[in-house]
């Protein structure tokens, strides 16, 4: 077990008029190498939860274990934890500050106290991984397009070579092409470097395509924590909390209701296509008189 969250509660502004309980008794386990999606309505506590995982926020009660060690124990090095659990915030391009891209990406590994060559190697690798051309390295980060800025910012965290990469809505505000490119690159990192990825998102479609497991948050509580197909079975309940299953799930369910004996577990368009073709084929076998 890489990360294990035990009975974590978090209250914002406790003792004031603005008191809100953002996390309610969260229990969660995350294994090495998993690709996890966290989904929830606005204000459901997703951002709050992920900031606990690298120690930026301290739980009001409960504990978190990383690699078997209690991170709230006295003497536990938060700095080391943060180098192992990389967190990319929502709109990460707002944190860029250096005069050129390359230096900005070097900031993270430099803070780890690595030698200069190692810092530069990591920065180069990270920028390559997110698809930033070497020609752009000495440009000001403020002269880039929105999508490019986003990649540079993600590279800034990747350059620390974390074991776990957490991304808070990395595709917010991007066009469909930019969105797909970033998600593909993240998915590739997961496959090739075997890093554990936690992806916070609003889009069920995105999540369904890439992740092994979905965590659904609702008003600070963990509502579902299961494989995508299992979670999407509850599409009616998801609707009640302001979410929706991927469109494919709806189509498959309607088909099944109306006429066609399809398996409704398909979560992506490709799977759905296979399922429908299979069901159609079976039907033509059973009804030999059909055209």
């Amino acid at each position: 077990m890489l990360i294990s969250v035990k009975n974590v509660n978090y209250v914002y502004g406790s003792g004031t008029a603005y008191e809100t309980q953002a996390l309610k008794d969260i229990n969660l386990e995350i294994d090495q190498g998993e690709f996890i999606g966290i989904i929830g309505h606005t204000g459901s506590g997703k951002s709050t939860l992920i900031q606990h995982l690298n120690g930026l926020m301290k739980a009001t009660s409960g504990t978190i274990f990383f690699d078997g060690k209690d991170i709230y124990e006295k003497g536990y090095s938060m700095k080391q934890l943060r180098s192992k659990v990389g967190l990319v915030f929502q709109y990460p391009e707002h944190q860029l500050f250096e005069t050129d891209i390359f230096r900005d990406v070097c900031f993270g590994p430099k803070n780890l106290g690595l030698p200069k060559e190692e810092v530069e190697r990591r920065a180069k690798d990270a920028l390559r991984e997110v698809g930033i051309d070497e020609k752009l390295f000495d440009q000001s980060p403020f002269d880039l397009s929105g999508g490019q800025k986003r990649r540079v910012a993600i590279a800034g965290v990747l350059a620390m070579e974390p074991q776990v990469l957490i991304l808070d809505e990395p595709t917010a505000g991007l066009d469909p092409k930019g969105r797909n490119e970033i998600l593909e690159q993240i998915s590739m990192l997961h496959r090739e470097k075997k890093i554990t990825v936690i992806l916070v998102s609003h889009s069920m479609e995105d999540v369904a395509k890439y992740v092994d497991r979905i965590i659904v948050m609702n008003q600070g509580e963990l509502m579902y924590n299961d494989a995508p197909r299992e979670v999407f079975r509850h599409y009616k309940e998801l609707e009640k909390v302001g979410l929706a299953a991927p469109q494919v799930t709806y189509i498959m369910n309607r088909l099944k209701e109306k006429c066609l004996a399809v398996n409704t577990d398909a979560t992506t368009i490709e799977e759905a296509k296979e399922e429908i073709l299979k069901a159609l084929k079976q039907r033509s076998i059973h009804l030999p008189g059909n055209r």
Binding site: A17, S83, L87, F89, H94, F97
Partner: protein, 265 residues
């Protein structure tokens, strides 16, 4: 972390004081502050205390919120008290080595402490019970006569309300950027002064960039809605005095008269 600063923040509940016209609250605060500096003897303070605690009770804001504002000026308060205590000439009542405390000094220091404390609490009541927007509306209205002598009253009020509106936004932004940089291994706490100043660069640059971006967006949005200054501009919620506001003015007058009378005794 940074959000915990509450000095001058609005406390959102419903009370008689919250519902008062902001102009009344501004004038009352001014009267109260002036009265604090009129007192020369102890009985005046009894009147001020009664008045102040009456208002606190009516405002329904928890007392610890008022005191929170005091923490920020505690040092100033202590310095004032110490200076007054030791450096006021008069009849010595306590002498030790080079330290002399006089009768006069004790009295001045005590009065000074009470004055400053009441001053802070009095003005916190105003900011705790009035939204920043209301406050600037009130100010604009009270300062209107000054526009006759070419003081840009509307512009000043608009700048104030924008500035006030931006404080929490910028604080939140600071918090966010700080966290993002800490996640990249930044260290804002340790090191000597030079290192600390240097470590602020990754915080300040994005903060300025974002402040300019927001200012730009705001200017754009205002222009898109045809904002063109205060000339002939009407208000969605014009300030109109209610019965309670006149009662509050009357109460203020009564308080002022009481204070003057007590001083004469």
């Amino acid at each position: 972390m940074i959000r915990d600063i509450t000095l001058g923040q609005y406390y959102p509940i419903d009370s008689v004081i919250h519902r008062l016209d902001p102009r009344v609250k501004l004038v009352s605060t001014l009267i109260f502050v002036i009265s604090l500096f009129m007192f020369k003897n102890f009985s005046g303070y009894i009147a001020a205390t009664l008045f102040l605690f009456g208002i606190i009770k009516l405002s329904k804001v928890p007392f610890r919120y008022m005191v929170k504002g005091l923490k920020a000026v505690l040092i100033l308060l202590m310095i004032t008290v110490v200076f007054n205590l030791f450096l006021t000439p008069g009849k010595p009542i306590f002498e030790f080595w080079i330290v002399t405390i006089t009768d006069e000094g004790l009295k001045t220091a005590g009065f000074m402490a009470i004055r400053l404390t009441y001053l802070i609490i009095g003005s916190s009541i105003m900011t705790l019970t009035t939204t920043p927007n209301n406050l600037t509306d009130g100010l604009e209205d009270l300062m209107r006569p000054l526009s006759k002598v070419r003081v840009p009253v509307h512009e000043i009020a608009m700048m104030m309300s924008i500035a006030l509106r931006f404080i929490p936004i910028l604080l939140e932004e600071t918090d966010k950027i700080m966290k993002a940089q800490i996640a990249r291994g930044a260290d804002f706490e340790s090191g000597n002064i030079v290192q600390k100043a240097k470590s602020l660069v990754p915080l300040l640059v994005p903060l300025f960039v974002s402040a300019f971006r927001r200012a730009n967006d705001l200017a754009m949005a205002m222009e898109a809605r045809c904002y063109r200054g205060g000339e002939g501009r009407t208000k969605m919620k014009p300030l109109i005095y209610q019965a309670n506001d006149y009662r509050a003015y009357a109460l203020n007058a009564a308080y002022l008269i009481a204070v003057i009378v007590i001083q004469r005794l």
